[in-house]
């Protein structure tokens, strides 16, 4: 399209004026826009519009009145949040559970990766890996279902206790609060320990063979090799992953916990995410639940971004 102010032309003969240039590029990219638009619409409608919907945390939202006509209450819900004992309890449960997971479920894949790494036979290693990766792909319904089948009053564990130790009264694993958190952590380990080794195995593969050879020449046993070469070699990977895991400390695995909760274990088991569900969807306290959710999301964002920055900085220092 000829432009009166054009004095330069591109080799393919397209006129170059400011608006002409922009329009030309838009036209040239028209198919790319076509490709992007469906996905962009998705993000807009199902990711960003809900973020706009967060305003109901500042209202007393009623579905009948809608956004426009629901009463505005400012920070009231957030104030209640800090005072409501249930919120404090739920926050505590979330942190305790996360802490237990970090102490027990985080090191497990590392240990397993170290063990797998020491296996000489590739076939044996791959067999073990195949077995150990499987639970990762199963749904939580199945994993929790399997645990329930084992741990119930009529389940295998109690039957075994009865037959082997003459224990008449079955242990109520699933309804005793004291067992709730340990069972949860055990489930996470069973499901994810295998899959979690992947990234550590990759890091282990990066440790220089020469170091091992030098150590063997010096007469180091396998233990010492692991202690002095392997572990330091993956130290930075471990630290980075730990920092990132800490960034997610407020996340506790909604579906797993939701499936395990019952009236007896609510006190120890209800976490932020499940609390938001019960309050918001079941009790229709939309605004308050959204406020709790927003609170968690905001803190989570700060933590995750902070953790990412920290991990990056450590990564740069830690690489020598």
């Amino acid at each position: 399209m000829p432009n009166a102010s054009a004095t330069l032309t591109k080799p393919i003969g397209k006129p170059v004026g400011r608006s002409g240039k922009i329009r030309a590029k838009l036209w040239r990219d028209r198919y790319a826009y076509l490709l992007v638009i469906p996905g962009a619409l998705f993000f807009l409608v199902y990711k960003y519009v809900p973020m706009l919907g967060l305003v109901i945390a500042f209202q007393n939202y009623s579905p009948f009145l809608g956004f426009a006509r629901s009463e505005w209450v400012g920070l009231d819900h957030f104030r209640t949040l800090f005072e409501e004992p249930e919120v404090v309890r739920v926050m505590w449960n979330t942190l305790v559970l996360s802490f237990l997971q970090i102490v027990f479920a985080f090191p497990a894949p590392i240990l397993l990766a170290l063990m797998l790494n020491e296996v000489r036979s590739q076939l044996y290693k791959r067999i073990i890996q195949s077995i150990v990766y499987l639970p990762h792909f199963l749904s939580w319904v199945i994993v929790v279902g399997i645990f329930m089948i084992f741990l119930r009053a009529e389940g295998l564990i109690n039957s075994f206790l009865e037959v082997a130790f003459g224990r008449e009264v079955p242990i109520d694993f699933l309804t005793t609060p004291a067992f709730f958190r340990p069972i949860l952590v055990l489930q996470v380990v069973w499901k994810e320990v295998g899959w979690g080794t992947i990234i550590f195995l990759a890091a282990l593969a990066g440790v220089s063979q020469e170091l091992y050879e030098a150590a063997i020449v010096d007469g180091a046993s396998r233990w010492r090799q692991i202690w002095h070469i392997t572990l330091p070699g993956i130290r930075s990977t471990i630290v980075i992953l730990l920092i990132l895991r800490l960034g997610n400390v407020l996340d506790s695995g909604f579906e797993q916990i939701f499936l395990m909760l019952n009236a007896f274990t609510m006190d120890v088991g209800n976490v932020l995410d499940t609390y938001v569900y019960y309050k918001g969807i079941q009790q229709s306290d939309y605004s308050f639940a959204t406020a709790v959710g927003l609170f968690k999301g905001a803190i989570g964002l700060v933590l995750v971004v902070g953790a990412n920055r920290l991990a990056k900085r450590f990564g740069e220092e830690g690489v020598y």
Partner: protein, 292 residues
């Protein structure tokens, strides 16, 4: 290799043994459930400790395959998985490729996608939007709101960017437009990546549970995990907190053997694709971890 001292051998022995033990512990639940599912109801109730059926019977499986709600749920889930995965791949690959062509606003859009990895509006606002877009009580509530996984999008986009540029330049000189570059070059070249992510999305759909009970009120529309959950939990009087679930089996609660058979049948598709999952998944994860 150098000579192995006896401490080396001991180390290896212990290592191999521990790993074998771990494998047994991991496998045992499945083996137990598998074998007990082939017992008859009565046999199970009578025995104190049952590890192996005295007489193999397929009662539990017959029960399951005759159960309308179970089979219907399987059908629903197959549909959900197939259609859902196609939608996923369609939306994800198109947007991923479109964002490699250097359009205006590309960087902002990528940043906006990245942001969704760090922060999400949460359950309630999303629920309200799903409701507002009329998807409640439709299987599409399980497909559209999760059409694109942000991390998958980012990884696939990086993959597209890693394809050799000369091929694209050559095609452009032959007059290809972006659509043709996408369909005739990018897609065929990314079959392994597409297979990996397709499997990833498919497994996720097959395992759908919570979205099912959140967005679907009619038991006839429930995916298999929801029905499975009911089957397993129904005999538990302590589980009074099961959302909107109602008893759909009007007989007494299904015996343990049926629960076990149900779990295994629901697991079967995952087991069938497992070899492919293993092959592609570890690679896909590594791709993401290395580049991300």
């Amino acid at each position: 290799m150098n000579h192995r001292t006896w401490t080396d051998r001991l180390f290896d022995g212990v290592n191999y043994a521990l790993l074998a033990l771990l494998a047994v512990v991991m496998l045992f639940p499945f083996l137990y459930i598998f074998s007990v599912s082939f017992t008859t109801f009565e046999q199970y109730l009578q025995s104190d400790l049952l590890l192996w059926p005295t007489r193999w019977a397929t009662d539990a499986y017959e029960f399951i395959f005759r159960s309308d709600s179970f089979m219907r749920a399987i059908g629903v889930t197959v549909y959900l998985t197939v259609v859902g995965t196609i939608v996923n791949l369609l939306f994800t690959t198109t947007m991923a490729f479109g964002l490699t062509r250097g359009i205006y606003g590309q960087r902002i859009v990528v940043l906006l996608v990245l942001f969704t990895v760090l922060f999400s509006a949460g359950m309630i606002p999303t629920y309200l939007v799903v409701k507002a877009t009329g998807l409640l009580n439709s299987i599409w509530a399980l497909i559209l709101p999760s059409a694109i996984g942000s991390v998958s999008l980012i990884i696939i986009r990086q993959f597209f960017m890693s394809l050799p540029q000369e091929l694209f330049e050559a095609a452009i000189m032959d007059g290809a437009n972006d659509l043709q570059l996408f369909g005739r070059l990018a897609l065929p070249l990314s079959k392994p990546a597409l297979a990996a992510f397709g499997l990833f999305y498919a497994v996720s759909h097959w395992n759908t549970y919570f979205a099912g009970i959140l967005y679907l009120n009619d038991p006839k529309q429930w995916p298999i995990q929801v029905i499975l959950r009911q089957i397993v939990v129904q005999s538990d009087p302590t589980n009074a907190l099961g959302a909107a679930e109602q008893l759909m089996l009007d007989n007494p609660p299904p015996p343990m053997t049926v629960q076990m058979a149900a779990i295994l049948v629901a697991m079967l598709p995952i087991l069938l694709v497992y070899p492919f999952l293993q092959k592609h998944f570890a690679k896909g994860v590594m791709l993401g971890a290395v580049k991300g």
